[in-house]
């Protein structure tokens, strides 16, 4: 029972020292500012990376599904496949490091921008496959109906196929963005002070890991739960519009 009593002591100490610990980790030297700024950076990187990811993902998805449907765009399709294979076959941290140290190695550039580019390019690959599966899931009669009215390929995509495809893949897309938010936690590898890095900085200054890391975890969890809630709501709104 020695092990259990050690844990019990820790819990007891934690609750006894909770006020002190809170003061040390967040109030003293205005350490809470690390957390607030870090959260800001995390949200900023995620937000813009989502936009880059959506843009890239849609372009790649449209190229790939056009190729699947018509056999055209062979070269572009090849490039897209290469992109998907490389991005999905390597860890995001390695991609981030390569983009920071190799591609932008000799230029002075804001680390936030580097992170947005790296995570955006990474996310684009996953968004692309999600959107493509959505496009391919739409009955080909929808496409033919659009074309037979006189819409060209792009117009048919925009007015007929994509709105339906998007609705079908909204849960998967929402999930991808939640994954992305969490993945930006490796931004500390390029010394970008995001939320995770903020907790880690406090830990290294105060030598008390529990409080700052717990706070970071709770904040991630809250943001994820908020996002899930918003996505569910959006889904329900879209579903109601169709019956």
């Amino acid at each position: 029972m020695n092990f259990l009593s050690v844990i019990w002591d820790k819990i007891l100490l934690f609750f006894l020292g909770i006020g002190d610990s809170f003061y040390l980790n967040f109030i003293k030297d205005n350490r809470w500012e690390y957390i607030v700024k870090g959260l800001g950076v995390t949200l900023e990187v995620t937000f813009f990376a989502v936009i880059v990811g959506i843009l890239l993902g849609f372009i790649v998805a449209i190229i790939r599904s056009t190729h699947d449907k018509t056999g055209k765009l062979k070269f572009l399709n090849f490039i897209c496949n290469l992109y998907l294979t490389v991005i999905r076959g390597t860890p995001v941290v390695v991609q981030l490091l390569i983009i920071y140290f190799v591609i932008f190695g000799s230029v002075r550039i804001d680390k936030v921008v580097v992170a947005v580019i790296a995570f955006g390019i990474n996310s684009g690959a996953y968004v692309a496959e999600i959107v493509r599966s959505g496009i391919m899931s739409i009955d080909k009669g929808q496409f033919e109906a659009g074309r037979s009215l006189g819409f060209n390929y792009i117009q048919t995509m925009v007015y007929v196929i994509l709105p339906q495809a998007l609705k079908n893949v909204l849960p998967a897309l929402g999930n991808e963005f939640i994954v992305l938010l969490k993945e930006t936690s490796v931004a500390g590898y390029i010394a970008l002070q995001d939320l995770t890095k903020a907790g880690d900085i406090i830990r290294s200054e105060t030598y008390s890991p529990l409080m700052p890391l717990l706070a970071v975890a709770v904040i991630y969890l809250s943001v994820v739960m908020l996002l899930s809630f918003l996505i569910k709501k959006l889904e329900r709104r879209l579903r109601n519009s169709e019956h």
């Binding site: 929808q142 659009g146 037979s148």
Partner: protein
């Protein structure tokens, strides 16, 4: 829509030597036909004889392997022709309706005229409501397709094509996916169209309807037109043995 006198001498659609091959399979083996303004051409034949393929070649949903299709004097099989312009003049009605499920009925009907013919919403809506009125569905303008019965969906699909003011309407088994009690309401809309001298090409298994409405009936078999005649002649006096045995089976 009135018959255009100076155009009636030249065929609205002229098909010459039309072939369509899917890999090894030859779906169409040389089709020649003239379809004139006001013609109501019914296409019948056994399953797999190439009826749908022929119809879909007319608006290039299938790309012909060989041959030419002149539509209003333009060779639409020419790769320089902008097919999107000509498709606006060829309405198509599918077996599976293919309404856009994410749009209301009104949006289904107005999106083509608004985006392609630069009509204002008011203009497009007025025309859509006029046509909805005629098929008895004006009260469903704000419904979504999934809220309608099969027969209602198909009537809407016909109206959607009509909203583009087409010069010809192509129908591919428009009643085959319907419950029997809904077939009549769709046929009645088609009958009205035929009476107004809309040019129509109709693939169907409804022989009685063909007999009643067609100006010409075509029998396809093995990717060619085996026989063609006015409806009485076609059904009362079939010439080829293939058609005789086909009619014996379906009538």
């Amino acid at each position: 829509m009135n018959t255009n006198e100076n155009k009636s001498t030249e065929a609205l659609i002229q098909v010459r030597g039309l072939k369509k091959h899917f890999k090894e399979l030859n779906a169409l083996n040389g089709i020649d036909i003239d379809i004139h303004q006001g013609d109501v051409v019914f296409v019948v034949g056994p399953s797999g004889s190439g009826k749908s393929t022929f119809l879909r070649c007319l608006n290039l949903l299938e790309e012909p392997t060989e041959g030419t299709i002149l539509f209003e004097g333009t060779d639409i099989t020419d790769s320089k022709t902008n097919i999107n312009i000509h498709r606006q003049k060829m309405g198509m009605v599918f077996q599976q309706f293919n309404l856009f499920p994410h749009m209301t009925i009104l949006k289904n009907l107005t999106i083509g005229p608004m985006k392609l013919q630069k009509k204002s919403f008011e203009e497009a809506k007025a025309e859509a409501m006029r046509l909805l009125e005629r098929v008895g569905l004006a009260d469903r303008a704000n419904a979504y397709p999934n809220q309608l019965s099969g027969g209602q969906k198909q009537r809407i699909a016909i109206v959607r094509a009509l909203c583009m003011k087409p010069d010809v309407m192509l129908f591919d088994e428009p009643t085959s996916a319907l419950d029997p009690e809904m077939v009549g309401e769709v046929l009645s809309v088609m009958r009205d169209l035929a009476e107004e001298k809309m040019t129509m090409v109709v693939v169907t298994h409804e022989m009685a309807f063909a007999k009643e409405v067609a100006s010409r009936v075509i029998f396809m078999d093995g990717g060619v037109i085996l026989e063609e005649a006015a409806p009485e002649e076609f059904f009362e006096n079939p010439k080829t043995e293939r058609l005789q045995s086909f009619l014996a089976k379906v009538l």
